[in-house]
Symmetry: C2
Subunit: 466 residues, 2 copies
């Protein structure tokens, strides 16, 4: 008989798990003092580790020792209160524990039957999320539509786009899809993966607020239709990545409707704001969109990945994505009594991601979620006011939520110098974009640990550098 595999016993798991929880709690306490952007050169992390895997298992303390020695210096600390880059990606206590539980249970929810709780809890929390954000009940799982958690907005967009193409039955090469010049690259990627040629995805002009111009969309769709093409899909964005511009969804939907085109709304960052009743302008048009998504893994205190997608009618999505081989058939599915989420996504397998959203919603409650969003928006508005009051700087775009886009009035070089100095200092991490071909410093506020003093310190650093 060969040696048995050295599986970790429940008691060892207790011990190592408790130690790792302690390590993570202490990482949380140290976060503020760590340089936000990783300071290592390419290849540094790998060079610290052995080139070959171990022949025999290693003792756990050796593994944990490498976390501080190799991993932490190689991180860009997304959970730092001084992380103002991209958009926030909050990993809060309840969401970490939700992921721990998901890993510990180790179930795979491709079918209702492979763990009913995985499917039913996901339907429940996505219905809860509709209620929390004031999104319309037409997306509820209790009607012909429903919600699903996807691993990213890109996949969600791809499903919706691909779905459309299948649904329309138009000749593939004649399909035309529309975005704005400010739409996230994920939609372009989704179109590519779905087999659309570059000419089949048209970028519509935006106005001075960087929001899509419905008139320009109407002209493009009409010209395509007149040329015998098939306008089939419009992606509107609520809160663009560069500047949180808000596409006018109702007007866009009206234009799209005239051509029978699917309207998908990507509210990846901004959608979470709707947990505050006073910010529900981000939901404008939800009553007429075909699909809607936003990412609790950005601003809603839930760790990556957790992207919520709703459709008003699930039939075309299922028609596009359902493939049932014999080995996946089962009585519950055959009876039509259940939802099998594998038919709502590209991969077959799926983790129990609803747990973390459930933990987050229950831990914070509606009031706690709103308090977090409200705090970020207040800080964003305050920073925007400071920028406007300083004659050396200007706002590069409206700041409707908590992203502030600013630039030095002297031009790109001055702005770039500030960005490089801030990031190089390790005190904070900001990213850039270009608007009207001018460089922009983006300050995205919304990290759970960010307080007023962190935004103040950043602004002090920026102005000192000016």
């Amino acid at each position: 008989m060969a040696d048995p595999a050295p599986h970790m016993t429940p008691d060892e798991f207790r011990r190592q798990g408790t130690e790792l929880v302690e390590w993570i709690a202490s990482y949380m306490e140290r976060l503020e003092d760590l340089p936000v952007l990783a300071q290592v050169e390419p290849g540094w992390v790998r060079a610290q580790l052995p080139d070959h895997p171990p022949a025999e298992g290693e003792p756990w303390p050796d593994i944990v020792a490498d976390l501080d020695r190799v991993i932490v210096p190689g991180l860009t600390h997304w959970q730092s209160p001084n992380f103002f880059a991209y958009f926030p990606g909050n990993a809060t206590g309840p969401s970490i524990l939700g992921d721990l539980l998901s890993a510990g249970l180790g179930v795979q929810g491709m079918l209702w039957a492979t763990s009913p709780a995985c499917t039913e809890l996901e339907q429940l929390v996505l219905d809860w999320l509709l209620e929390l954000t004031g999104l319309p009940q037409r997306f509820s799982s209790k009607g012909p539509g429903g919600g699903v958690i996807q691993e990213s907005a890109s996949s969600a967009n791809l499903c919706a786009l691909r779905d459309l193409a299948v649904r329309r039955g138009a000749e593939p090469a004649r399909l035309r899809a529309y975005v704005s010049t400010q739409t996230h690259s994920s939609v372009e990627k989704a179109a590519r993966v779905a087999g659309l040629a570059p000419r089949q995805l048209e970028a519509i002009d935006v106005g001075p607020d960087y929001a899509m111009l419905p008139d320009a969309l109407a002209r493009a769709m009409a010209a395509d239709a007149a040329a015998g093409l098939a306008p089939c899909f419009v992606a509107a964005t609520v809160g663009t990545t560069s500047s949180t511009a808000l596409d006018p969804v109702p007007a866009i939907a009206e234009v799209a409707r005239a051509h029978g085109a699917w309207v998908h709304v990507d509210a990846a960052f901004a959608g979470s704001a709707a947990v505050c009743p006073e910010l529900r302008f981000v939901n404008d048009g939800a009553d007429v969109a075909d699909s809607w998504c936003f990412n609790p893994h950005k601003w809603l205190l839930t760790n990556f990945d957790c992207s919520a997608l709703w459709v008003a009618d699930r039939a075309p999505l299922l028609a596009a994505l359902s493939v049932t081989p014999e080995y996946l058939r089962n009585a519950s599915t055959d009876a039509g009594a259940v939802v099998d989420y594998r038919d709502w996504q590209i991969p077959l397998g799926r983790r129990f991601r609803a747990l973390k959203l459930w933990f987050v919603i229950r831990h914070y409650g509606a009031a706690g979620l709103a308090a977090h969003i409200r705090s970020g928006v207040a800080l964003g508005q305050e920073l925007a006011a400071w920028v406007e009051a300083d004659e050396r700087f200007e706002l590069a775009a409206p700041a409707p939520l908590s992203l502030v886009c600013l630039r030095h009035r002297e031009g790109d070089e001055a702005t770039q110098t500030i960005i490089d100095a801030v990031n190089g200092s390790g005190h904070a991490y900001v990213t850039h974009t270009r608007l009207d071909d001018r460089l922009v410093l983006r300050v995205a506020i919304g990290q759970a640990r960010t307080e007023r003093r962190h935004v103040e310190a950043l602004w002090e650093q920026i102005t000192a550098l000016a």
Copy 2:
């Protein structure tokens, strides 16, 4: 000033985290006594929970109390030693801790710069995995190829397939892709999502061992080429889902090569076996395949999701999937000094999944990983021998690894009765398939907790029912 959000402090995280670790350890200890397949009716889980989200945050003990009350009864226990369904999905201690750490760090590795450790550790562990499995160095990150972790084999297949279409530049409607009648449904789904019409994906016949017939493939590709079509992609399977049939990859690759078609190998389950030198027949053809994937999240003690994909040449993959908007540009990427994994996958964002694979490899070592696989194969071979020795049963297919396909000689009804009785009893969970249009009971061995006594008990139950 509004109320602050009730974020969980590091000390609260310590307390709740330690309690949850204890809960999971105790779940591990109870696993063997729980009914494997969930016994609840559709709607039961949801009916136990409030229809509306809480207005205020709830105390943590109330949340945890619902785990035993609602979640556990609603689970199908994939980690039970009596789980013989589908393929195993092992969530071992080290992999759970890897996921906990990934959640706790909360970094997002879309770019090298957004956490260098996330990218470099992934390159390292995928190179380690090549060495552990004896796969060829042509897939190493140190050459023109390289490996990447994908969330599922479906996505990996899709990337490879889509990549090909772009690379070939053939007219989309003329592309033809080939699978066998036994290929996993994920490839069909990937083809759909990539915009291929059903007629563009051809299912090639298999022989009596359920492996693809290279002669049949050669005939189909030649006929298509003669008809002016563009044969471009062949998906070979090493270890099919129904019966772990092994497609003859070298012969398939030779046929495909003559047409310049891409050869992708899906070794989702069986690929892990190669950690045992004596089982490296599963690697046949790896020296000539364009892409290769297997899922450590199935048989290699790493929890879902962790699908490893390698390509011999990364250029076409990047050409297909790289889209760089301004806000993702950075000095390291512009200098070409680093790998940005967002260009290797469909979604933009990515979790730090390399951690769990790193923990698993270090905890078990090469010897421990091999011991686990060897134990599963030994049990599978033993069960296959019992089936062959019992005149009431027969093997429905060869059992080269640890999946045993059997049926009652009296026919489908007798086999179905046994499947239903086993699953209904809660003692074990097996699934079915059809081979040559006859019902088959699949016993997939490989769960980390499964010992000889569990397989014996299952066989006793089956024979008692016969």
